[in-house]
């Protein structure tokens, strides 16, 4: 199984690449969005700013959106999840539009939300026992999907309840960082990959 991390140029991919490893898997890092979709499992990692990431995505945006809609198993983490939406208040440029809705700032006094927060109201096999109950977040923006049915888990920061995870077909998006959520986060990632295999 080939797992490809689309690298839009910002942050730490080492921990994530390591966390996705397993028997019979090849984990690759690919900066070209067109080449990135020639894979069995696509990962959009989580560090950076929306505008810069959307610009890196732009040349392959339509091809990637088409591949995901056609059933390419995909995981978007944090900013990677936000790129599944139409656009973001954080920066200009288009997202992939897999999930209709925009990325908006958290309605909270204390932002960014940095730290460990609980994952609530889960309704998906990915959150079966042993459940990932608490995970690491580092975000000022969140997805606001037009259709709440895509949301498979929620979290709350101050008074704002926001989507912790979404699913559309074979695309999973998580606002938290499983690769930074210690052993339970790694187990979650392994479950996502195992489901797609």
């Amino acid at each position: 199984m080939r797992i490809t991390l689309f690298d839009y140029g910002a942050g730490n991919l080492h921990s994530l690449a390591k966390a996705l490893q397993g028997r019979g898997r090849v984990v690759a890092i690919e900066p070209n969005p067109i080449r990135a979709i020639e894979t069995d499992f696509l990962v959009l990692p989580g560090v950076g700013a929306f505008g810069a990431a959307a610009a890196a995505l732009a040349p392959g945006r339509d091809a990637m959106a088409t591949a995901i809609r056609a059933g390419l198993p995909t995981l978007g983490i944090c900013l990677g999840m936000q790129l599944m939406c139409d656009g973001s208040d954080e920066g200009s440029g288009d997202g992939l539009g897999i999930v209709s809705g925009r990325v908006e700032k958290l309605h909270a006094r204390h932002t960014p939300q940095i730290g460990w927060n609980s994952i609530d109201d889960t309704r998906d096999t990915l959150f079966a026992e042993p459940r990932l109950g608490i995970a690491y977040y580092a975000n000022r923006y969140v997805c606001r999907p037009a259709d709440a049915d895509v949301v498979i888990a929620w979290s709350v920061h101050e008074a704002d309840r926001f989507p912790a995870a979404i699913r559309w077909g074979r695309m999973i998006g998580v606002q938290f960082h499983p690769e930074k959520s210690s052993a339970p986060g790694i187990a979650f990632l392994q479950r996502v990959i195992a489901e797609a295999a």
């Binding site: 950076g48 940095i114 690491y136």
Partner: protein, 255 residues
């Protein structure tokens, strides 16, 4: 539920080894950073900080190699501080495997570095690292590892850092660093009440009660500890149970 209060373990590193001193001087070797990082994750630390306390250009390559080796084995957030002078330095540290970058002297010299870093990499990975020393009824910012006095008021500077896009403030009391008499609660409070980004209290932890006080009295989101763990004075588990006993929400980890 809501965000838990964090316990952050800091390893001062120099030339690939963990060292610890008092008031920024008198360094002692206390171990291998990668092994210690993994151990602290297992014990329940919520995050780790590597502070490169010399960061000469020759040692920079050693640090980046250390970050790479650590990132492949550590699955909690890792912040790197020390010697970050430019956007290129921020990029290099993040590429090597850091999740956040602490900027200290360079931000004082070139405040726009915070804006540029936040715009390019996201605010969540830009940590304004502030070393403050009390002077009468105020605190003054020092740079260069506590050696150089500036004219900046620490409270005003923290506000400016947050305004420029820093996602977090790592606030170290130079007076308390390594002396284990407790965090500077007044300093922590003065800053946590005026910024909306998380404040990490640093410098002075000697007892579990000090960690609790940093959060309850100082208003910090997180407390940073170093020497008391490296010297075996206490453990991550003991500190977290003290936090739990004080009704602070903390992340539970399987023992």
């Amino acid at each position: 539920m809501t965000l838990t209060r964090r316990l952050i373990v800091c390893l001062d590193v120099r030339d690939g080894r963990v060292v610890k001193g008092t008031n920024f001087v008198g360094l002692r070797d206390v171990g291998d950073p990668v092994a210690l990082a993994e151990q602290y994750e297992r014990e329940g630390a919520d995050e780790l900080v590597f502070l490169d306390i010399t960061a000469t250009q020759e040692e920079r390559a050693t640090l980046l190699d250390l970050v790479r080796r650590t990132a492949e084995r550590l699955f909690i957030p890792l912040t790197i501080g020390g010697g970050v002078r430019s956007v290129e330095d921020i990029a290099a540290v993040l590429r090597a495997g850091a999740d956040k970058v602490g900027i200290n002297s360079a931000a004082v010299r070139t405040p726009s570095l915070i804006n540029e870093g936040a715009a390019r990499f996201g605010a969540q990975c830009i940590v304004a690292s502030i070393d403050a020393k009390r002077e009468g009824d105020r605190w003054v910012v020092y740079t260069a590892g506590g050696h150089t006095r500036t004219d900046l008021n620490a409270v005003a500077w923290a506000q400016e850092c947050a305004m420029r896009g820093a996602g977090e403030i790592l606030l170290t009391s130079i007076d308390r660093d390594g002396v284990r008499t407790g965090y500077d609660l007044a300093l922590t409070k003065a800053i946590s009440t005026v910024v909306d980004v998380p404040v990490v209290a640093s410098g002075g932890a000697g007892l579990p009660a000090h960690v609790v006080a940093a959060i309850t009295d100082g208003g910090a989101d997180a407390a940073l500890v170093a020497g008391i763990l490296h010297d075996g004075v206490t453990t991550v588990a003991a500190l977290k149970s003290a936090m739990r006993a004080a009704n602070l929400l903390v992340r539970d980890t399987a023992a």
